[in-house]
């Protein structure tokens, strides 16, 4: 699941300067679950933009804004409203914005900032737990990811910045990731794992395989 956060209204309005007529797209996928682009948020955005003097030609909340076929048919169903718009405002993650831009001849404005892949690896909400690094070391760290739990992405243990309360000096709201790892390994009787010197991450593994970078795998793309 992609996690997005709505941009401040001023930022959205700045992006829409000179665009009077707007068509709004919401998303009933992750963005709806994340509370940024369900129907209530779309309606709220419509009111906010109208108060700011914009003309809302129409809106649609698509099942998944990242699904080209769905987006295409939704925009076709609202062809007149879309045609009357200067711009489309997509209230989803970056993938949704790119999908809309790919199937429409209007400029697509993002209403959100995508902040995380969130629980793309599962249904365990709340915290980001995987950074899709391609070089997993969870067996060495007691099943707690040092890339998402430590702001410095440290792979070889704690820095000196754990507060007395066990928090991270970067952000007193979050627990020190390496303290959590230490405590987990201690509980498991596996503190010796901390003694291993881990290699720096191989960032070349972060690039997805070429086959995944090409979009030809998708039937909709092939049918073009």
């Amino acid at each position: 699941m992609f996690l997005a956060q709505q941009k401040p209204l001023e930022e959205i309005l700045k992006s829409l300067v000179g665009k009077k007529n707007i068509f709004i797209l919401g998303c009933n996928g992750c963005a709806e679950a994340g509370g940024t682009a369900g129907e209530p948020q779309v309606l709220e955005m419509r009111r906010a933009l109208e108060r700011a003097g914009k003309e809302i030609t129409g809106f649609s909340v698509v099942g998944f804004l990242c699904q080209k076929t769905l987006v295409q048919s939704s925009l076709q169903g609202k062809a007149q409203e879309v045609a009357a718009a200067d711009s489309i405002l997509a209230m989803s993650c970056g993938v949704g914005v790119q999908t809309v831009a790919a199937v429409s001849d209007k400029i697509t404005h993002p209403a959100c900032n995508t902040i995380s892949l969130g629980k793309i690896c599962g249904e365990w909400n709340v915290f980001e737990r995987c950074r899709v690094c391609g070089d997993c070391v969870l067996d060495l760290t007691g099943g707690i990811c040092p890339l998402t739990a430590c702001p410095k992405f440290l792979l070889n243990g704690t820095c000196g910045g754990t507060t007395k309360e066990g928090k991270c000096e970067v952000d007193p709201e979050i627990s020190c990731g390496w303290l959590l790892i230490y405590e987990r390994l201690k509980k498991l009787g596996q503190l010796e794992k901390l003694q291993q010197i881990n290699e720096p991450e191989d960032h070349s593994k972060m690039l997805p395989p070429k086959g995944l970078l090409l979009s030809g795998r998708c039937p909709v793309e092939r049918g073009k």
Binding site: K152, L154, N156, T162, K164, V170, L179, L191
Partner: protein
């Protein structure tokens, strides 16, 4: 005598620290460094301390080197990826800089450019390993170098770390990676530091205890509350609060700490944080 030789001898080693300016005006730090001539065994030059954009450590180390002083190049992993770190290490080597202190570094958002991209491509342990690889004649992935650098590598440890066991495990890793000496976070609680030193004694590596002169009771309280791993006993805070002459009391406290530390560790690392010009007085008071 260089830092490496000093640490190999029986003497009580003293290092101190200067922080490059924000800008190109180096007169003041060079004057401060000059005050340390003959008084210390090495001078750390911090690497964008507190994540604040400043003049770089490498250039200032070079200036100290040219003046016949003994610089210790601090290198953090915050701002440079593995390519840039290795390149700067080679640059340091050709400039004749030998001592390198490898650190992870403060987080970028804590400084004056919170918008910066925090790099942390390597961490302190892997940086030390990379230094050792360069010394062995290859880059970190094994490509041969023409000409080998030679360094004397140090690292840091926080004796008040939470928990201290995790700090010691990391300290051991740094030693296995190739660290030859340690500079420690500021020490005010002698009892706690003594316990720490007993635990790390089997590691047989020189440790220089950190000394930060207290500038005021407020600063002491602030550090005790906010700096991870630092605890200032109430007695010292009260001494500063009641001081008629804060500078004099501060120097006395620092000198007393150094005297007490003398039997416990191989030396001290004095971090004056703005009070560079007072370091000689601290050394005088500590009979060093």
């Amino acid at each position: 005598m260089g830092l490496q030789e000093s640490l190999a001898s029986d003497k009580f080693v003293v290092t101190s620290e200067i922080s490059p300016p924000k800008g190109t005006g180096v007169e003041e730090i060079l004057a401060n460094a000059e005050l340390l001539r003959g008084r210390v065994d090495g001078i750390n030059v911090s690497d964008l301390r507190s994540s604040i954009m400043r003049l770089g450590s490498l250039a200032v180390c070079h200036l100290l080197q040219e003046k016949g002083l003994e610089p210790i190049l601090q290198m953090t992993c915050r701002d440079r990826n593995r390519l840039a770190l290795q390149a700067d290490l080679l640059s340091a080597a050709v400039l004749g800089i030998k001592n390198v202190l490898a650190l992870t570094g403060d987080y970028a958002s804590l400084g004056d450019h919170p918008q910066a991209k925090p790099v942390f491509d390597l961490d302190s342990v892997s940086l030390i390993r990379v230094i050792k690889k360069l010394e062995a004649g290859t880059d970190m992935v094994g490509n041969a170098l023409s000409g080998r650098p030679k360094f004397f590598v140090g690292a840091v440890v926080n004796p008040g770390g939470n928990p201290v066991e995790a700090q010691i495990i990391k300290m051991e890793k740094k030693i296995r990676a190739g660290a030859s000496f340690f500079q420690a976070q500021a020490v005010y609680d002698i009892g706690a530091f003594e316990k720490f030193m007993k635990r790390v004694a089997p590691l047989k590596v020189p440790v220089l205890a950190g000394i930060i002169p207290l500038k005021s009771a407020g600063m002491a309280r602030f550090m005790s509350k906010n700096v991870a791993g630092v605890f200032v006993p109430e007695l010292l805070i009260q001494k500063m609060a009641k001081a008629e002459d804060r500078v004099k009391t501060s120097i006395e406290i620092a000198a007393d700490l150094i005297k007490e530390l003398k039997g416990m560790c191989q030396g001290v690392h004095i971090m004056p944080i703005g009070w560079e010009s007072k370091v000689p007085a601290v050394l005088d008071a500590a009979n060093l």
